[in-house]
């Protein structure tokens, strides 16, 4: 490694100083202020966590730290001093000379940020060589060292691969290597692990934290996940509606948040439902094998029993067959072997051979409420259609029922004429729930319904689902990878791994040791709010 210490300054000097930043965003035909006078100071070698809900202005502020405003935004006023340089006064080419050499940016989706046509190592050193920080041969050598430091497998040869030939977690680490390659003074991480599984996330977090520490780089870590930021940051700044709520040192912030809003962010994870056992099975998946295109078998002998009026949570990382199980139950993917029985009656394997009654009794709610609603239909049409279709309601009877359903999901009649694009993320998901309820089903399959939502909204949705279960006795099959959500809502848990059921049982049984290996790995990888969690986990795994 060429430089182990940053030659440009000592730890503790102020590196970035942003004062009274105001940023305008253009939407709805006019300019709105989206950052309303935020101050930000970052010293060398420090990591700042920037958290808040979506729309709080985290990313916009993070990009402004580079002196950059994305299309549709403009920095209206304020000063941005980066190591004595006034970014606001700099011209575009001058700023571009800084970007990629002294300030680096790591985006959320590594897959979308790499050029699929070039080898990874060439992309890793591109900025370094392009900005004449060092020569090509030298930077490539250094890149290999970085790969090694980031604990990538085969650091000598992994750079010769193309982006599609490595996994998502590896790609995210290579992107960190790319940002690190010119030895920048400042790195901005914009939700770098949000798209990863919990088990992969741990590896990436460890690698990123170590390398930032090693080179004494300052970093801004943007995320909505409190537990993650607790591991990464020295201090945390909470944003809301483009304004600062509070800022404090990580431990202090976690132990005693001052503002009510921050407290509410913290409290979400406290939601917990007492489990209730039941033997009245409403839906049973019996020895199901399933495959896409008759070649790739994704489910192996899956057996799950779902008791009436209870919640069964299916957990596992992506690719474990959770969603495929849902597709088999709904009839979108006929099983190769085995059967799904509903109320003791076998369900036909494919959608076309099921009758209206069978379809009506099993409803589904999707992860992305955005794509689950037709953007050209109003809320009234979306909720009204199942009423018409299954129950033959027309005219005023239909409208009354729509109002009832809206009230049930805690919205009002003013929403009837709105289009999905005019709703917030949580409201969209509520409409999807209303659409499922309109059919008056026995079972609702919830496929990651809260994972795209902010913490507070997530809590609201979970509370709603619990209330509906209590009032109407609906059964949920809840697919998720978030253990906090599992604790909040489930009675029973099914752990899946590589298309097989690893474990199945009551929540208390599954969550208390001893666990099978995979369950242990999954449960231990879920970030906790304790800032020492990552350290102790790494130590634990090193021992094992």
């Amino acid at each position: 490694m060429t430089t182990d210490e940053n030659p440009r300054g000592e730890k503790g000097d102020v590196l970035l100083d942003m004062r009274d930043i105001r940023i305008d965003g253009f939407s709805d035909e006019r300019w709105h202020e989206i950052i309303k006078g935020v101050d930000l100071t970052l010293k060398r070698g420090e990591v700042m966590g920037l958290i808040g809900e979506s729309g709080a202005g985290k990313s916009t502020l993070g990009k402004a730290a580079m002196g950059y405003a994305q299309p549709g935004c403009k920095i209206k006023s304020g000063t941005i001093m980066f190591d004595g340089l006034d970014l606001m006064a700099m011209s575009e080419p001058e700023k571009q000379a800084l970007w990629g050499s002294r300030i680096a940016y790591v985006a959320q989706s590594a897959a979308a940020s790499f050029n699929p046509a070039h080898r990874l190592i060439n992309q890793t050193v591109e900025a370094t060589v392009g900005h004449n920080v060092s020569g090509e041969a030298e930077s490539k050598l250094d890149a290999v060292n970085l790969y090694e430091a980031l604990q990538l497998p085969n650091p000598d040869s992994i750079g010769d691969r193309y982006p599609h030939q490595v996994s998502g977690g590896q790609l995210q680490r290579i992107m960190t290597a790319m940002a690190m390659s010119p030895r920048p003074d400042l790195i901005i991480f914009d939700e770098p692990t949000t798209a990863l599984d919990v088990t992969t996330q741990v590896e990436v977090l460890v690698a990123m934290r170590d390398i930032v520490e090693k080179f004494n780089t300052a970093a801004i870590y943007i995320t909505h996940d409190l537990a993650v930021v607790a591991q990464m940051a020295d201090f945390i700044k909470v944003l809301r509606y483009g304004e600062e709520v509070e800022e404090a040192e990580t431990r202090k912030m976690l132990a005693e948040p001052e503002m009510d809003y921050t407290k509410s962010l913290w409290s979400v994870r406290a939601l917990e439902k007492p489990e209730v056992e039941s033997d009245d099975i409403v839906l049973k998946i019996d020895g199901v094998d399933a495959a896409y295109g008759n070649t790739v078998k994704v489910l192996h002998d899956v057996t799950i029993a779902i008791p009436r009026g209870r919640t069964v949570a299916v957990v596992g990382e992506s690719g474990s067959g959770k969603s495929t199980t849902a597709r088999v139950i709904t009839g979108l993917l006929p099983p190769m072997k085995g059967q799904v029985t509903f109320n003791g009656q076998p369900l036909p394997g494919d959608l076309e051979s099921r009758n209206k009654d069978q379809l009506q009794r099993i409803q589904m709610i999707y992860q992305m409420a955005d794509t689950a609603m037709n953007p050209r239909q109003t809320v009234g049409e979306i909720i009204g259609r199942p009423l018409e279709f299954y129950h033959g309601l027309r005219g005023s009877a239909r409208n009354e029922r729509i109002s009832e359903l809206l009230k049930l999901i805690e919205l009002d009649d003013s929403f009837i004429d709105r289009l999905p694009s005019e709703l917030s993320g949580g409201q969209k998901q509520r409409i999807c729930i209303a659409r499922a309820l309109a059919a008056e089903p026995d079972v609702i399959i919830c496929d990651e319904v809260t994972s795209a939502l902010d913490q507070i909204v997530q809590e609201g949705i979970l509370r709603l689902l619990l209330r509906l279960q209590k009032e109407m006795g609906i059964t949920y099959l809840f697919i998720t990878h978030d253990i906090a959500v599992v604790k909040a809502i489930s009675d029973e848990i099914v752990v899946m791994f590589q298309g097989k059921v690893v474990e199945q049982g009551l929540k208390s049984e599954i969550l208390t040791p001893p666990h099978p290996d995979y369950t242990q790995l999954l449960l231990s990888s879920v970030p906790e709010m304790d800032p020492d969690w990552l350290d102790s986990l790494v130590a634990e795994r090193a021992e094992a």
Binding site: G37, G331, L351, E410, L423, V457
Partner: protein, 318 residues
């Protein structure tokens, strides 16, 4: 952080800290406009080229609708002097058998545009409908239709049209049907490819899970979401159909005399170009219908470009 802004954020966050309500969440859009208001806003922002296009198209439509009132003479009215010069009784002179060129230009708008419009609509019904079915079905039917379309597209369309027209005869009905079928291959391809992206959306799956039939999924779930590219394509296809009809007429297999049509008018008067050295205006006579075709094509493309830009959500500003 200064104390004043500290206090400010405190009071504000206290105000915002009332009980969470789902209805109180802020959606993406704050102001809801009616379709008419939105149209007026985008119209007021339309670039000059789009305005030019819209005005030209409006003028053409007006001419086509009120042709009998605007034209000084009848469509097939024959006068004593063939190839009369410009000016006098005949603004643009007369053609090879003594028909008023100006009047025929005006009637030509009606005939050529009317037939082109009917053809384009028919081709969209055929191509769009089958394209949607193929996109939803995705089985052997999709394969069959797509390969059949490939075969049709492999044959140069003008030559194929010429062949079919000489088999079925050059009546207006067969002209419309033949060009519509040949053109629907392009519409099929576009519809299928844009619809495939919509078919995989969760809301289409949700409709299928509800047990909705093919008709509902096509009309209510997919069609509204692929309208913008289809409308844009409609404009372009209209221009191409227009050119095809003009080309066929120029070759003598399109719209038959005495019906006025711009393509055949170019052909009929083509020989006048040789007289440029004696009378410059005479040489322009065959170019007039050609210019009429060119102007409309350009105008339609201007409007389509603007519309595509509008709906694609591209942003120029930085």
């Amino acid at each position: 952080m200064s104390t004043t802004s500290d206090q400010m954020s405190e009071t504000e966050s206290n105000a915002q800290e009332e009980a969470y309500s789902a209805a109180g969440e802020v959606g993406m859009q704050r102001v809801r406009r009616t379709r008419w208001q939105r149209m007026r806003i985008s119209l007021s922002k339309a670039p000059l080229s789009a305005w030019f296009g819209m005005i030209v198209i409006a003028a053409y439509l007006f001419t086509a609708l009120f042709a009998p009132l605007l034209a000084p003479y009848g469509e097939a009215e024959v006068f004593a002097t063939p190839f009369a010069p410009w000016g006098g009784d005949h603004v643009f002179g007369t053609d090879q058998i003594g028909r008023d060129v100006f009047s025929r230009l005006i009637y030509g708008a009606r005939n050529t545009m009317g037939i082109a419009l009917a053809t384009t609509i028919l081709s969209f019904i055929i191509g769009g409908g089958l394209g949607l079915v193929a996109a939803i079905n995705r089985s052997w039917l999709d394969q069959f239709l797509s390969r059949f379309v490939d075969v049709l597209m492999a044959i140069p369309s003008l030559i194929f049209a010429l062949m079919l027209l000489s088999i079925f005869g050059s009546t207006i009905t067969s002209l419309i049907i033949i060009i519509a079928v040949l053109d629907s291959t392009r519409v099929f391809r576009l519809t299928r490819s844009v619809a495939i992206n919509v078919v995989v959306m969760d809301y289409v799956e949700a409709a299928k899970l509800r047990g909705e039939g093919l008709g509902w999924v096509m009309r209510k779930e997919i069609l509204p979401n692929i309208m913008p590219p289809l409308v844009a394509e409609f404009g372009l296809r209209f221009s191409f159909v227009f050119l095809t009809i003009a080309a066929l007429s120029f070759l003598g297999l399109g719209i038959q005399p005495p019906t006025a049509d711009w393509g055949s008018m170019v052909r009929d008067n083509a020989s006048l170009i040789q007289f440029a050295q004696y009378d410059l205006t005479a040489a322009f006579t065959p170019l007039l219908p050609a210019a009429a075709i060119a102007l409309l094509t350009v105008a339609v493309n201007f409007v389509v470009d603007w519309f595509l830009h509008q709906t694609s959500g591209l942003r120029d500003d930085h």
